[in-house]
Amino acid sequence: MSVLEIKNLQVSVITEAGNKEILRGVDLTVRSGETHAIMGPNGSGKSTLAYSIAGHPKYLITGGSVTLDGADVLEMSVDERAKAGLFLAMQYPVEVPGVSVSNFLRTAVTAIRGEAPKVRTWVGEVKAAMTSLNIDTAFSERNVNEGFSGGEKKRHEILQMELLKPKIAILDETDSGLDVDALRIVSEGVNRVKDGSDLGVMLITHYTRILRYIKPDFVHVFANGKIVEEGGPELADKLEEKGYAEYITA
């Protein structure tokens, strides 16, 4: 049982023109097995929340706290956060030229598990995970995210999540740029990991579409750098119908 606790988190983005305040006091608790949908209009700070929890150097924490099972996440380096059990599936996964997917996955898994996976079981493990995500095994020899289609990038993110087995995963707009089939495959992947590992999920999205496949336990509406309304799955239905207009004008 793990708990990610975000308390009164305040974050600025570091730009050449100076720092700009984005998050204005976010409170959120995600426990193992729970799925939280974070929904909000573009520019509301959803991605900032995701990236600052993962430790992107572009963001400056100006107040508040983030803990995972009591440990101070904000004091950890980026890789330590991953080792502690956090995972961020990125909206725009980064290309790493010359580094093959297989080398990357193996290096990451070795770092997270603290020892290199046994060659024999590892090959099978990767193959099984790839097959279930409908990823061609020839993919292993390609460079990380280089020349991947939008759908391939997102499936590759979920593949990593499946192999790294985090405690809490943040999925940042994983649904963006996916057609219906790809969305279904990716969602099934997330659900499979959830079923198998009691994963806690923070699902950041603009649209309700993905919530048809990944059922949230809680829905939080994000606007202007903080959570402005919370509820159960029914809140998503309301957003589907009325949009974000009332939160933007509010």
Binding site: A54, G55, H56, P57, S77, V78, D79, R81, A82, K83, F87, L88, M90, P93, V94, E95, V96, P97, G98, V99, N103, F104, T107, A108, A111, I112, N143, V144, Q160, L164
Partner: protein
């Protein structure tokens, strides 16, 4: 040693071709201010495959096949009496790479090699430059019609070495030239990989890797002369620099002459600065005298680490130092993987790792 007629061309450092080069560190190879010997320094490393011969011939029997405006090349032509000739017979399919090894003498020397790839031959030539040496070299490479030659020049010198050279390829109709120039060792390495075409359907792929650490000067001056129609060229050089006074220069000149319709060319140079105090110059030049071409382009980037790449790798649990090494290895792997020679790929990756260790990465 004859009196030089090219004395008036002795570079002063103000010339475009020499303005980046530390003339004081060239062991007199550019002005013959010190004793410079004519030396046959290349030998076959292992038995030569069938259809391949390495002989030494008098310079009078092998007049230069092209004009060079490089001062060192011209000094070589005036002074070198014995030329190494590597001949790959026509129609030879040489599966095993042809390994040549260089052993330099104790003093500065000049050396010339001619490689003749016969009609429709296929081969790979690897030249290993290791140990110490002060050498001015010319390598004249002729690819006869339909020949395919992979030419690999490894500069894995000791840190004292000085190496100035021109590698000129003359590429005939339907011939394919692929070169890899890999410079990691030496005090000063200054190479001019140059190519010209003599018939349509010919292609040149020029790849390079360099890694300069403290005080090293590694300079590569590429010149692609598109003087006939329907030839293709690709240039891709990648370099990393680390440490105080690490210095690299990359010049990429591509000329597309009036009659060179259907030319297809692209050149790329990328430099990765790993520390302060290092300097990379990168100067692509493209001159086009005809618009009737398939394509012509160039790109040059010099920069530090991509923070987004490091963040991505670290966010998967990979520690910062390993992430940096992965990115640097990946940067070079793009070219090294094209060698398609497992032993060599492994050896070069290990050399990159050694350089990284030296650089404290």
């Amino acid at each position: 040693m004859s009196l030089l007629t090219t004395n008036y061309l002795t570079p002063t450092g103000r010339e475009e071709a020499w303005r980046f080069t530390p003339l004081k560190r060239l062991a007199g190879l550019h002005d013959l201010s010190s004793l410079v010997k004519d030396n046959v320094s290349l030998t076959a490393n292992g038995a030569l495959p069938r259809g391949v011969s390495l002989t030494v011939v008098a310079d009078s029997e092998l007049p230069p096949a092209y004009d060079s405006n490089d001062i060192v090349t011209n000094r070589i032509r005036e002074n070198v009496k014995q030329i190494s000739l590597l001949r790959i017979e026509k129609d030879s399919e040489v599966a095993q790479p042809i390994h040549l090894k260089r052993s330099c003498g104790p003093s500065a020397e000049l050396s010339k090699l001619v490689i003749q790839a016969g009609v429709n031959s296929r081969s790979t030539v690897i030249i290993e430059n290791i140990g110490s040496g002060q050498i001015g070299e010319e390598i004249e490479i002729t690819l006869e019609a339909g020949a395919s030659l992979k030419f690999i020049s490894l500069q894995e010198w000791d840190r004292s070495a000085v190496h100035l050279g021109q590698h000129h390829a003359i590429i005939s109709k339907d011939a394919q030239f692929i070169s890899f120039v890999i410079s990691v060792g030496g005090s000063v390495v200054r190479l001019n990989p140059t190519v010209e075409f003599t018939g349509p359907g010919s292609s040149a792929e020029l790849n390079g890797i360099y890694f300069a650490t403290d005080g090293q000067h590694l300079e590569h001056r590429i010149h692609v002369n598109h003087n006939v129609a329907n030839a293709k060229s690709r240039v891709n050089y990648k370099g990393a620099l680390s440490g105080d006074q690490a210095r690299t220069v990359w010049i990429g000149d591509v000329f597309i002459h009036k009659g060179a319709e259907g030319t297809d060319t692209y050149e790329l140079n990328r430099n990765l600065l790993l520390s302060d105090g290092a300097r990379a110059d990168s100067v692509p030049n493209l001159e086009i005298e005809t618009g009737e071409i398939v394509g012509a382009g160039h790109a040059s980037t010099t920069g530090r680490f991509d923070d987004e790449q490091l963040f991505y790798l670290q966010s998967r649990g990979i520690p910062a130092d390993i992430a940096r090494r992965l990115v640097i290895r990946g940067f070079f792997a793009e070219i090294i993987n094209k060698l398609k020679n497992e032993d060599l790929e492994e050896r070069l990756m290990k050399r990159i790792d050694d350089e990284l260790a030296k650089a404290g990465e």
